[in-house]
């Protein structure tokens, strides 16, 4: 019973966060709410995110999913709803910025609160990599970020394969 009540309180809280209602009115305690880090920038003078904030809170996954399929299968590379841009704006590029495993990471701050696990970051970078990717032979200097990204060890699969006819 205790558990059930806690669960319903959490659901109520989650709903109120999503709907932008004052959750504290029910809970009477702000400390229960997730602390969501501030974005680095505003989309425009009148709008914080790429769509109105209430819309993004409810439906960000729809935008990202749609963009995912458009980019992957049709080669559409508009930036407005790209996950990379979400990360670039919502996550700090400081070397000690929180990883997605931490509740202080923008995405995880809410997702851990709402108990929704996401697997985006098993493949995608969870922190901004803003510099263009340096080319090994182009002489571009590597950024600090990039240095962390590239392997410390040389890639072992360089070995050539020898095939002889019989």
């Amino acid at each position: 019973m205790q558990n059930l009540m806690q669960t319903s309180l959490r659901i109520l809280l989650a709903l109120s966060v999503v709907a932008g209602l004052p959750a504290a009115a029910w809970a009477g305690d702000d400390s229960l709410l997730p602390v969501v880090p501030q974005a680095q920038d505003r989309y425009s003078k009148t709008q914080g995110c790429v769509e109105p904030t209430t819309e993004m809170r409810k439906n960000h996954m729809e935008y990202i999913l749609h963009q995912r399929d458009e980019t992957m299968h049709r080669g559409i590379r508009t930036r407005q709803y790209s996950l990379e841009q979400c990360i670039n704006c919502h996550v700090s590029d400081a070397p000690d910025a929180p990883r997605v495993s931490s509740d202080e990471h923008f995405c995880n701050s809410c997702h851990s609160y709402a108990a929704v696990s996401i697997d985006c970051f098993q493949c995608h970078a969870d922190r901004p990599v803003k510099t263009p990717n340096p080319h090994a032979l182009s002489g571009h200097a590597k950024s600090a970020n990039q240095a962390a990204v590239l392997p410390a060890e040389p890639h072992q699969a360089l070995a050539t394969e020898v095939i002889s006819n019989d």
């Binding site: 098993q122 990717n133 090994a136 699969a157 019989d166």
Partner: protein, 248 residues
């Protein structure tokens, strides 16, 4: 398979498996789009007016040179664990040696971006797919890691990711439990640039690789294909590969 595809396969077999015959059939579908040399606008979908291809001249490919491999690894952040058997590899150098004459040759082998890709045929989820412009990709959002495609690929072009990864590059998302292979640097191609390997090979003055739209008769690759004889590796499989070789 549609009737048309059947006829196509039949005609190809009839004409023999030489690359010249196949190039004649596939490279000139009668589409003359000259503006494709410029980058496509970001909000426009790819179309089958373009077919991306690569021509590799093995006579220019230097023995022992691995510039294309290194640049690919850097471009996509491919990291190794010191286990060559299972480390991801999108392009590799293969040395060929004729035992009788002792003649050796060196060539880069990568996903051949087949027109009829066996990897796509066998994929149970639809994760392996061919984009309209001929680039064969794995949609890792859908891939379940069954590795059927690795078994089906005649060129051993695909790798499975065995370990959890971190700090992937934004243009090359990769993760544990999925299969990956050469993307023809699709993120660059969509910006109107050439693949990293081609850029590296050219920068080092080897000029063994040409990349471009084989449907555009004015492109460098189409002109070279028209002028010189070239071959597909395992042309007998009728896959109509997007990667062609000279000198083998």
């Amino acid at each position: 398979m549609t009737d048309n595809a059947n006829i196509d396969t039949y005609r190809r077999r009839f004409l023999g498996n030489t690359a010249t015959a196949i190039a004649g059939l596939s490279v000139a579908p009668g589409v003359f789009l000259h503006e494709v040399a410029q980058a496509r606008p970001a909000d426009e979908a790819v179309t089958s007016d373009v077919r991306w291809g690569m021509l590799i001249d093995t006579n220019k490919c230097a023995n022992g040179c691995t510039d294309c491999v290194t640049s690919c690894n850097d471009e996509h952040g491919l990291t190794g664990h010191g286990r060559p058997e299972t480390d991801a590899q999108w392009i590799r150098k293969v040395d060929l040696r004729d035992k009788q004459t002792g003649h050796t040759q060196s060539l880069p082998l990568l996903c051949q971006h087949c027109e009829h890709p066996p990897c796509v045929d066998v994929c149970p989820t639809g994760a392996s797919f061919k984009r309209a412009d001929g680039i064969v990709l794995v949609d890792k959002h859908i891939c379940i890691g069954c590795r059927y495609c690795m078994m089906a690929c005649p060129y051993k072009a695909r790798s499975f990711i065995h370990e959890a990864l971190q700090d992937q590059l934004p243009h090359a998302p990769r993760g544990k439990g999925t299969v990956e292979s050469c993307t023809f640097c699709v993120h660059r191609v969509d910006e109107g640039r050439t693949p990293a390997c081609v850029e590296a090979c050219t920068a080092e003055n080897h000029n063994a690789m040409v990349f471009g739209d084989i449907n555009d008769p004015d492109s460098e690759i189409a002109m070279q294909l028209k002028q010189h004889s070239s071959r597909q590796i395992r042309a007998d499989l009728n896959l109509n590969t997007g990667v062609r070789y000279r000198g083998i």
